[in-house]
């Protein structure tokens, strides 16, 4: 069985949504938190509903709609989302009201929309889609587990045209708490200089990216997702990478481009450097978190990037760490880890 990415839609800090170009106009931000460029939600959602929806719901619904539109699919065969924090805005709103109002006179809306499955549910509701609907909430591999579920559904021939997405929203409260936990840098940096200013901490981000997966070959497919491996506390990540390549009859030399989840944090990036030195010492390398920031499902942006590189047959200058002449990748390894606890590997092929 093969798994193809038919379409991909990403709402991020960059002009990635409904754009003719492919990262040809990069936005620079200075700070430790990247915002999201909000699309015109009226195109996708009833204006009466927009007002009540939190950012993560609006972005999720819009990205899912655009993904389906680009795939020319009206009704997906399943809807699966991944998010670590879920609907943070509504969760914080309801918690704040509980504390400030001492549990009295609480309006229900924020609670109703606070459950982690709200994005997948709202997409189903909008489409009147009664199909399989699931939400994975496992920290830095929430999106990858949603993908794995989709791959299993395709393998079981239970569904086709599966809509899979990763969504995360950053609100002031979560940014403050995560800053206190030491995730972010202590001074403002330019996101475009992030990879050159390696020090403790990264920059925060948020976003929504959706993909339509199918097992059917089609000239319109963006890429083939040939392998996905999720690892929890791997003993030796280099060995895991070699094993994955071997399982697909590949050598490191067969990989045309390595995309890593480097985020400018010294300890975080040391892991990637170790892998690069050991397995990919001369390979072309690309990074993306200076464009979208770090968040638990940031690798959904990475997958959007990889799929578009393969479709376009070119690598945008802004993501390249190490270039090569006439670089037209046919095979990409996307490697991300979250706080060195959760690692994920994806192999992607041009179609």
């Amino acid at each position: 069985m093969k798994v193809y990415i038919r379409s991909a839609a990403s709402i991020s800090a960059q002009k990635t949504f409904k754009q003719a170009g492919f990262l040809n106009e990069v936005i620079e931000y200075t700070g430790t938190r990247l915002p999201v460029i909000e699309p015109d939600f009226k195109e996708y959602i009833d204006p009466k509903l927009i007002r009540r929806m939190s950012h993560v719901i609006k972005r999720g619904v819009a990205a899912a709609s655009e993904c389906l539109k680009e795939a020319e699919v009206d009704m997906p065969g399943a809807i699966i989302t991944g998010t670590a924090f879920g609907c943070m805005e509504d969760t914080i709103t309801f918690l704040t009201r509980i504390v400030e109002g001492n549990e009295e006179m609480l309006p229900p809306t924020a609670f109703i929309q606070s459950t982690h499955n709200t994005v997948a549910a709202q997409i189903a509701l909008m489409l009147k889609c009664h199909a399989y609907n699931n939400t994975f909430v496992h920290k830095g591999v929430s999106f990858e587990h949603a993908l794995l579920d989709a791959i299993m559904l395709l393998n079981e021939q239970e569904a086709d045209n599966i809509l899979v997405g990763g969504t995360e929203e950053m609100v002031d409260t979560s940014f403050k708490v995560l800053t206190r936990l030491g995730l972010y840098k202590r001074w403002p940096v330019s996101n475009l200089a992030l990879m050159q200013t390696v020090s403790a901490g990264t920059i925060g981000g948020e976003g929504a990216a959706f993909f339509l997966l199918s097992d059917k070959a089609d000239p319109a497919n963006l890429a083939e997702l040939s392998a996905l491996k999720i690892l929890f506390k791997p003993e030796n990540i280099e060995q895991s990478i070699i094993a994955l390549l071997k399982a697909h009859d590949l050598q490191p030399v067969d990989i045309d481009l390595l995309i890593t989840g480097k985020n400018g944090d010294t300890r975080n990036d040391a892991i990637y450097q170790q892998v690069i030195s050991a397995i990919f010492p001369e390979h072309p390398i690309a990074n993306y978190k200076h464009l979208c920031g770090e968040y638990p499902v940031a690798n959904s942006f990475g997958l959007w990037l990889a799929a578009n590189i393969l479709k376009n047959g070119s690598v945008p200058e802004v993501v390249l760490q190490r270039a090569a002449p006439n670089l037209k990748p046919k095979k990409i390894l996307l490697y991300n880890h979250y706080q060195n606890k959760y690692h994920s590997l994806m192999l992607l092929d041009a179609v």
């Binding site: 982690h116 399989y132 609907n133 699931n134 909430v137 393998n155 708490v177 606890k341």
Partner: protein
């Protein structure tokens, strides 16, 4: 892909017991777990009954060996998951691919609530150790690490159907040959967040709940955890013990009607039950017992009842809502009720639906009202429906 998935281990903790045996005894005594709030610090104490696990956090910490300040959800999860794994007693587990698929709805919210009081007063205050378990995935990670599981570890959150989906996912990991053994289920502890949330929706009964009764007035919240150990056919043959049963059918469908309310004709529940029957290759008349979602809210029981009528008419198997004992344990309910479903097959019993007196006027059936022994229980249908229209049905069958 078509190989069977066997259930070989069970673990459960709820307001009516701290292990499987205590639950079975409580069922037979027809003793419900609801009572006045004693552990949660809330203004609703004395006004809203809940079904609390009887052990305090300190007692659970002593029992599990988890650190102080652990979320109550981690503690409950640890107790039940460990029980399930011990019960399965799988030899040479370390040589197998083991997964832990756990569900919950609000992670370590009980701790986050404490943090938030100080944080709101001053954003630089609040002890950070209280937010370490905020994410749903943290609960799973803590318990997986304690059990030494690292092959596949994941968390599902689909509101009140969460742990039914975790069991469903666990079975598919085995069928897809990605795991040999999966501990699957879920946990949720009572929090101010959920208690107040359900209270704002005005669906909490101020009395003990009366699922599927014409005069039902809402649900009682509960807490707990329930896990099954699922194994492949190959692993099952390596065990010295008999498997309890198999997971023969499952389906996940979406009601796509409203964020919180169920559709009047129970579309999602109808599709979930139909789909699970088809997956198991069974007819409605083959079902020996239905463990209802049966929260006790007017809306849920009416939609679920209508869907049952559409699927089963004119044959109605015995059915009951064990939430009349445990309250609605939210993300844990699918796991806890899966344990009850499996035990119904093992012990050939049917649980009563407590406090039932008047059948719902437009439904031609009523739940079982007394504890029944020596029943021919071969196939059990367990329903779990949640916010966001997430409807999941599981079918357990004799091995």
């Amino acid at each position: 892909m078509s190989s069977a998935v066997y259930i070989v281990g069970l673990g459960v903790i709820s307001s009516i017991g701290n292990n499987v045996e205590e639950h079975m005894a409580a069922f037979e005594r027809e003793e419900a777990g609801m009572g006045e709030i004693s552990k949660l610090d809330t203004i609703h104490k004395g006004e809203l009954p809940v079904a609390e696990v009887k052990l305090t956090n300190d007692e659970l910490i002593a029992l599990t060996g988890l650190p102080e300040n652990s979320s109550r959800t981690s503690l409950l999860s640890s107790v039940a998951a460990k029980q399930a794994l011990d019960d399965a007693a799988i030899p040479a587990l370390e040589q197998l691919r083991v997964g832990f698929v756990s569900a919950n709805t609000v992670g370590g919210m009980d701790q986050s609530e404490d943090f938030f009081v100080d944080f709101l007063a001053d954003n630089n205050k609040g002890k950070l150790r209280h937010v370490h378990e905020h994410e749903c995935g943290s609960i799973t990670e803590i318990v997986a690490s304690q059990l030494g599981i690292h092959d596949i570890v994941t968390t599902i959150s689909t509101a009140c159907s969460s742990s039914a989906n975790a069991i469903f996912h666990g079975a598919r990991l085995i069928k897809n040959d990605l795991a040999d053994v999966v501990i699957a289920g879920g946990a949720d502890s009572l929090t101010k967040f959920t208690l107040n949330g359900f209270n704002t929706l005005m669906i909490l009964d101020k009395e003990f709940c009366k699922p599927f009764d014409e005069n039902r007035a809402g649900l009682n919240l509960g807490e707990g955890a329930g896990y099954l150990v699922l194994v492949s056919e190959r692993v099952k043959h390596s065990l010295k013990k008999e498997a309890y049963c198999i997971l023969s059918g499952y389906n996940n469908s979406n009601d796509a009607f409203h964020q919180t309310a169920s559709s009047p004709d129970g579309t999602g529940s109808f599709m979930a039950m139909k789909g699970a029957l088809a997956k198991a290759g069974l007819q409605p008349a083959d079902i020996s017992y239905i463990n209802l979602h049966g929260t006790g809210t007017p809306n849920n029981d009416s939609a679920e009842g209508t869907a049952i009528k559409r699927v089963f008419d004119p044959y109605y198997p015995p059915m009951s809502s064990t939430k009349s004992y445990t309250g609605h344990t939210l993300g844990a309910s699918g796991g806890i009720e899966a344990v009850f479903s499996v035990m119904a097959i093992k012990n050939q019993i049917i649980y009563p639906n407590l406090r039932f007196s008047t059948p719902i006027s437009d439904l031609p059936f009523a739940p079982v009202t007394s504890f029944l022994k020596d029943q021919p229980v071969k196939h059990v249908l367990s329903n779990s429906f949640g916010f966001g229209g997430n409807c999941t049905s599981l079918i357990f069958s004799v091995a």
